[in-house]
């Protein structure tokens, strides 16, 4: 082991001696000690002498630290041990942090400690040195790793090795392509502009990428330096095409951007969260925000209608559908709202985004609203409005127009021209001027007479205007009209009224008195109806006949109000159709219900129509006379007459019965007796005659009884009425006809659900039910079981009883109204019947105030219907 060379920096000679002595005591290593007082001038010597270790006496003042720094700077990798005073321990510890290996307080100095510290320090320093070396190596390896990582992974087209002085060391086949152009050759110097780029690489030692263009071609290079080796590898690729594509893309993007920026539509690019990624200038102008502001915002910050939740849902919906178009409203920066139409396109890029174009439709909305208002105005203006095309065919009519003329819009639009409302009464020249003005492009205003669908004429005030396009061509016509018929009539009426007023006042008093008193005496009222105004005037007497005061509504409707409800319809029609329609005088007796005491009166109305010069009906003047007393007397007379006629008819029938039905058996008796005593008669013949005689006498008796019965009915009507239950009645009759029905199967069904009793004469009702049922029994079909159905029906003001059977029926066409006649029979042979039953039924029904009718079909059945007023 070679001796350790030790440098001791110590200015105290005794300390030097002490340390030298201690070192000599150390047996396990040999050492050469060289001592110095200071280090100031000896830095070079330290480096030259290759000291293994330095012992430094650390001065307690500031020079100690400076000295240490200098030693470290000079010695670099030589370990340093500090020899310190007692008080310097703190500083010593600090300096260990800065590179000293150890420190030994002077008072502790002994050979063992010193020797150990020297050896440890040297060993430690050696370890440190090794670590540093390793670190450098690791760093280099790492650099190489990074360099390799930077090397293009794509197989580069060009590979060049360039030395630090710019000499080209290697170039591959592909690179040779560049040779003629760049005048490259192995061992030649590369062009200066390439050299200028790679020179800094040698200095900085880091790889770079750069592009170079030559002629039309563009190359991308990656320069990787190998500084230790002294050259740079250049990997190059021709990227001309990629560049061109990029350029084209950039240009097209630019173009799109320009389009978007200059578009009249607002533009947004929005992500799935509704955040604005891009906006254009147009939208900035629309919203009043700057694009910087907008790019920090979401849809919901601008949306003025949709709630945020809804917007989120809307986004999802559009994502699903791929696109959407809707109207909404946005809020400007100043808080005002504007209407927009939004058109959204979903783009499936990255996480998805929306391309949104926004059109400000506030103006359009305002126009639409204005149009709506205009349309409403047209519909509700109260004026009749229509439009036609150039040919005059209706293209629009408003409801007022339809109701004015009585047409439906379907009848007009596209089907006909305003000629349909032309009355034809106007002068031809009038229409000529009208059309000339219109076709010259001018509006025509004024009054005219038109015709409604029902033919009535109406006065019109209005205008017709040609609709003219930009080229001054007529494309249609607009008509606005107002019905002034009433106004016209009022005007006329006013004129007449004025005339009348003038006349009045002059010759009133005496005449009026005379008139009033004579009217009162005769109960004759007078009136004057003005058909232009629709109102009538009345005399005092008429007012008292009608029971009205001066406030009563003296219109036609007011008159009809007084007319008795049962006569109202007739009188209305009489006035309109007969009197006015046919220009006849009014002459009618009718009932009124007085307005004040609601008494019914009969009046006789007379009236004459008055026309103006052109023949139009203007008014009616006439009288209304109270004829109640006379009328009732007359009605009484009519009733009596009717009664008399009926009595007479009854008598005639009675005569007829006497002459036929009473006379027939009498004649037989006479005939039989005239030959009964003839001796030539055989016993058998005598027998027949006797039996016939007996029968005839019985018949005679029956007729007399019937007659008595009938005469009784007509006087029995004053008997007391009782509530008669129909079901009970039918059951009672069922029992009484048991003998008649015999063995035959007979069904009598009844349904008195709707009404099952009636206040009437029981004996009559019994007779009616009995006769109708026995009628059905008599005329039943021989081989079909008889079914009789009796049903009651309750109608509004009457009750009906229906008797229906399935019997042989009657041919009503042949028999007619004789069915109910007395002693009328319609079936010869076999069937018992003397023509009494139905006559009785009819007489009884009628004397109870009811009606009976029959319907029947031969071999099907017969139905009798009896009606009684409730």
């Amino acid at each position: 082991m070679r001796p350790i060379t030790i440098l001791l920096i110590e200015d105290n000679p005794s300390d030097v001696r002490l340390i030298r002595g201690m070192l000599k005591e150390i047996s396990y290593f040999k050492s050469n000690l060289i001592s110095m007082e200071t280090l100031i001038e000896d830095c070079e010597q330290i480096q030259k002498n290759n000291f293994d270790i330095i012992l430094l006496d650390l001065k307690p003042d500031s020079t100690g630290r400076q000295t240490f720094q200098k030693v470290i700077d000079c010695s670099k990798e030589i370990p340093v041990i500090l020899i310190t005073g007692i008080e310097d321990e703190k500083l010593a510890l600090k300096l260990i942090m800065e590179g000293a290996q150890d420190y030994i307080p002077k008072q502790n100095l002994n050979p063992v400690l010193l020797g150990k510290s020297i050896l440890y320090s040297i060993e430690r320093q050696a370890l440190l040195r090794n670590i540093k070396k390793l670190n450098v190596q690791i760093g280099r390896i790492e650099k190489e790793r990074i360099r390799l990582a930077k090397t293009p992974s794509v197989n580069p087209a060009l590979i060049l090795h360039v030395a630090g002085n710019g000499k080209l060391l290697y170039i591959n086949e592909a690179g040779i392509k560049l040779l003629p152009d760049w005048q490259l050759r192995i061992n030649g110097i590369i062009p200066s502009r390439l050299k200028d780029i790679i020179d800094p690489i040698f200095i900085e030692g880091t790889a770079i990428e750069f592009e170079l263009s030559h002629r039309e071609l563009i190359y991308s290079f990656c320069a990787v330096p190998f500084i230790e080796e002294g050259y740079i590898n250049l990997y190059g690729r021709d990227i001309t095409e990629r560049k061109q594509a990029e350029e084209a893309l950039r240009e097209s993007e630019e173009k799109h951007r320009t389009i978007i920026q200059t578009s009249i539509y607002g533009f947004w690019l929005v992500d799935m969260q509704g955040r604005l990624l891009e906006v254009n200038e147009t939208y900035c102008r629309m919203s009043g925000y700057s694009s910087q502001e907008l790019l920090t915002m979401c849809i919901s910050d601008l949306e003025a209608v949709e709630m945020a939740d809804y917007t989120a849902a809307h986004i999802q919906k559009i994502k699903f559908l791929g696109e959407g178009r809707f109207e909404s409203r946005h809020r400007r920066k100043d808080g005002s709202i504007f209407d927009i139409e939004v058109s959204v396109q979903y783009q499936f890029v990255e996480n998805g985004r929306f391309v949104i174009f926004i059109q400000d439709i506030s103006e359009r909305k305002r126009t639409e609203e204005a149009l709506l208002k205009l349309e409403k105005a047209i519909y509700t203006s109260g004026e009749a409005i229509f439009l036609t095309d150039r040919e005059g065919v209706f293209t629009f009519v408003n409801p007022e127009f339809c109701s004015l003329y009585g047409f439906s819009s379907d009848e007009l639009i596209g089907k006909t021209t305003p000629r349909i409302i032309d009355s034809g009464v106007l002068d031809k020249s009038f229409n000529k001027v009208f059309w000339q003005t219109l076709l010259n492009g001018n509006e025509v205003r004024g009054e005219r007479i038109n015709k409604r669908k029902d033919g009535t004429l109406i006065n019109i005030d209005g205008s017709a205007t040609p609709i003219i396009d930009e080229e001054k061509k007529i494309i249609g016509f607009l008509g606005i009209q107002r019905d002034i018929t009433e106004r016209k009539l009022t005007e006329q009426a006013l004129i007449i009224a004025n005339k009348e007023l003038k006349k009045a006042g002059e010759e009133l008093t005496e005449k009026e008195f005379f008139l009033r008193e004579s009217q009162r005496a005769g109960n004759i009222g007078s009136y004057k109806t003005n058909f232009i105004t629709g109102y009538w005037q009345s005399s005092e007497t008429l007012d008292s006949i009608f029971g009205i005061d001066e406030n009563y509504d003296r219109s036609i409707a007011g008159w009809l109000e007084i007319v008795h409800p049962d006569d109202r319809k007739n009188m209305d029609e009489y006035l309109r159709l007969e009197v006015i329609g046919k220009r006849k005088s009014f002459n009618k007796e009718y009932r009124i219900v007085r307005n004040d005491d609601k008494q019914t009166k009969w009046v006789w109305g007379l009236g004459d129509l008055k026309s103006d010069e052109s023949g139009n009906i203007v008014e009616m003047i006439g009288t209304i006379t109270d004829i109640t007393v006379k009328k009732y007397a007359e009605l009484e007379r009519v009733k009596m007459t009717m009664d008399l006629i009926q009595r007479n008819k009854d008598l005639e029938q009675f005569t007829y019965i006497v002459s036929h039905n009473l006379r027939a058996p009498v004649a037989n008796i006479l005939g039989a007796t005239s030959i009964l005593f003839n001796p030539e008669l055989s016993t058998k013949e005598k027998d027949v005659l006797n039996r016939g005689l007996n029968e005839s006498v019985n018949r005679l008796d029956n007729v007399v009884k019937d007659l008595n019965h009938i005469l009784q009915i007509k006087s029995k009507i004053n008997e007391i009425k009782e509530e008669v239950n129909f079901s009970d009645l039918v059951e009672e009759i069922k029992i009484s006809i048991q003998d008649l029905t015999g063995k035959d199967h007979i069904k009598i069904k009844y349904d008195f659900f709707e009404i099952d009793s009636f206040l009437t004469l029981k004996s009559y009702f019994y007779s009616i039910f009995y006769n109708l049922i026995s009628n059905s029994l008599k005329y039943r079909q021989p081989d079909i079981p008889l079914v009789i159905v009796i049903k009651s029906r309750k109608l509004k003001d009457k009750m009906e009883l229906l008797f229906k059977d399935n019997g042989i029926g009657i041919d009503l066409e042949k028999v007619g109204d004789k069915v109910f006649g007395l002693y009328k029979r319609f079936h010869s042979g076999g069937i018992e019947g003397k023509g009494m039953g139905l006559y009785m039924v009819k007489t009884q029904v009628e004397s109870l105030g009811g009606k009976i009718s029959i319907s029947s079909k031969v071999n099907k059945g017969t139905e009798f219907k009896i009606e009684f007023k409730l």
Partner: protein
């Protein structure tokens, strides 16, 4: 002097028919009498029989019958051919005393007379002569 040998009676009253037959036979002896209770059957008989029959007949017709009155009978009868009608002499035989019936009978050209029931000897003798 010839008398009618053929008689037709149309009346729904069978007792009347019996009486008439007895009286006619009693006065005129053996004669041919047809009686019809149902007038339609009487019409049918006349139409069929007198198309060919050349022997004239007297018809006694009642007025008041249920299905077809004497007047309705006449309406049908008038539609027959003249061949048939010229052989038949019609007399109304009715119990009616009503003048209107008598007037009505007088108005009808095919009705020879109106006889009030019952038939008696004088009447029979006066009409049975041809």
């Amino acid at each position: 002097m010839n008398t009618f040998r053929k008689y037709i009676i149309v009346d729904d009253d069978s007792f009347n028919n019996t009486i008439c037959s007895l009286i006619l036979k009693n006065i005129l002896g053996e004669i041919d009498i047809k009686t019809f209770k149902v007038p339609e059957e009487g019409l049918e008989f006349i139409e069929n029989e007198y198309m060919t029959n050349l022997e004239p007949a007297i018809l006694f017709l009642d007025i008041n019958m249920p299905t077809l009155s004497g007047w309705e009978f006449m309406e049908q009868y008038e539609k027959f051919s003249e061949e048939v009608k010229k052989q038949i002499s019609i007399y109304i035989l009715s119990s009616s005393l009503d003048q209107r019936d008598k007037d009505k009978a007088k108005m009808n050209p095919y009705i020879k007379g109106f006889i009030s029931k019952p038939l008696n000897r004088e009447t029979i003798l006066s009409i049975s002569q041809i």
